[in-house]
């Protein structure tokens, strides 16, 4: 009797481990170049899962204006309903509860012809709730708490990825500023030197003796 109980306990532990290992769902933050429309798909296993993530437009090639219209971000459910929309943004965080399980579509729309690089991160998190607890006798309340802790740490990781992407965008802006300052300063000196030399030559010619004689 004791042996079977112990074996059952070990079996339960293995099953829970396997189940919890399967709940590890994380992808790295990837960057993709958006020319017109770029869509990324992510599979949501259970209805009610929290889908969270963020995206940042890293490579923005605006020359004149400082107000870029940004890109549009649209999330579509497997039933072709729009779950989440953000328009004209240079980066945002999002979080929603999946209305059903299935393949969700995350699309970036670039309204302008210049290609933009978007760095995104999508995470689907599942926490076993009381319904799963009642169904599965091997699932302890502590497993729920551990899953919640795992999800909280995932949200910290997601925030870090967002910060890293924002930092990359800021770095890009800084590099652009630095290049502009150097370029414009050098160009300014060159133009100044050339213009002043031309002016000197012109005025000299104006007051040269041959011209003066011709005037008379």
């Amino acid at each position: 009797m004791e042996k079977t109980l112990r074996r059952r306990h070990a079996a339960a532990i293995y099953m829970v481990t396997a189940l919890l290992l399967s709940l590890i769902s994380r992808i790295s933050s990837l960057s993709v170049t958006v020319n017109d429309v770029e869509c990324v798909y992510e599979y949501v296993l259970y209805e009610g899962d929290t889908v969270s993530g963020n995206f940042v437009v890293v490579d923005h090639d605006i020359f004149w204006g400082s107000d870029h219209p940004g890109i549009d971000f649209i999330v579509t459910s497997p039933a072709d309903n729009t779950v989440h929309t953000v328009k004209g943004t240079s980066g945002d965080k999002f979080e929603f509860k999946a209305p059903r399980s299935g393949m969700f579509k995350f699309c970036f729309h670039n309204p302008y012809s210049t290609p933009e690089t978007v760095s995104f991160y999508i995470h689907v998190g599942h926490i076993p709730n009381e319904h799963n607890l009642a169904k599965d006798e091997h699932l302890d309340p502590i497993n729920v708490k551990i899953a919640e802790l795992g999800e909280a740490l995932e949200s910290v990781t997601a925030e870090q990825k967002y910060l890293k992407a924002r930092d990359a965008r800021h770095r890009h802006t800084n590099e652009s500023t630095r290049k502009r300052v150097i370029g414009y300063t050098l160009g300014e000196y060159l133009v100044l030197a050339m213009v002043s030399a031309l002016q000197v030559v012109y005025i000299r010619r104006l007051f040269s003796k041959s011209v003066a004689y011709n005037r008379v």
């Binding site: 290992l21 870090q160 002043s196």
Partner: protein, 209 residues
């Protein structure tokens, strides 16, 4: 007998878990991309030095027709242009490497054959750092299981978060130095351009005399 049933279920689950080539348990780990019929689809990530990168990709067969699966080719390039992985005309593949330089790592996919006019769907499972760690090996080696393994995994995650925070702080410090250098450079160049203007006008006056 319930024990036998439980054991068989566990064996089945473990078998399915270890079968990494075919995703029988649809775990939400991979992201799906659409590869256009012409041109390449590239995804990249900025990775720092000495980080483990593990990736797995396979073509998703959506249509249930007799047509064979479309074949894709993949190439992974390091930030300095070295070719880390190259695969031609396959339906699935994987690669793993440890980064030796910090920078932008890019993986590009393209469809070789011109049979398929429609775009192909590819499932890419890209993990770096702590996500690429093989916890099953750790569990077997240290003989830990269940809750202890979960807590060990969470501890690894917390350490990775700590390391990443230090890295972000260093990057912010580097960028702040560049910003301050640019700031002082702007101030210097403004004063110098004023000085150059005055000098040039003096030269002009002297030259015109």
């Amino acid at each position: 007998m319930p024990t036998v049933a439980a054991l068989s279920l566990i064996v089945l689950l473990l078998c399915l878990m270890n079968n990494n080539d075919h995703n029988m348990i649809p775990v939400a780990e991979a992201v799906w991309l659409t590869i256009p019929s012409t041109g390449t689809k590239c995804v990249s990530e900025e990775i720092q030095n000495n980080v483990v990168v593990l990736a797995d990709y396979h073509v998703v067969d959506e249509t249930v027709t007799e047509k064979p699966s479309p074949l894709i080719s993949a190439r992974v390039t390091s930030p300095y242009g070295n070719n880390l992985h190259h695969n031609e005309n396959v339906t699935h593949g994987q690669f793993a490497f440890t980064t030796s330089e910090g920078g932008n790592y890019m993986v590009c996919f393209w469809v070789d054959s011109s049979h398929h006019d429609a775009s192909t769907t590819l499932s890419l499972d890209w993990r770096i750092g702590i996500a690429a760690k093989d916890w099953e090996t750790v569990a077997k080696k240290d003989k830990i299981e269940g809750i202890e393994l979960d807590l060990r995994r969470l501890e690894g995650l917390v350490q990775a978060i700590h390391m990443k925070l230090i890295y972000l702080k260093k990057r912010e410090a580097d960028m702040r130095e560049v910003s301050e250098a640019t700031n002082s450079r702007v101030a210097w160049s403004s004063i110098m351009s004023l000085g150059v203007c005055i000098g040039v006008s003096v030269l002009q006056l002297w030259g015109g005399r």
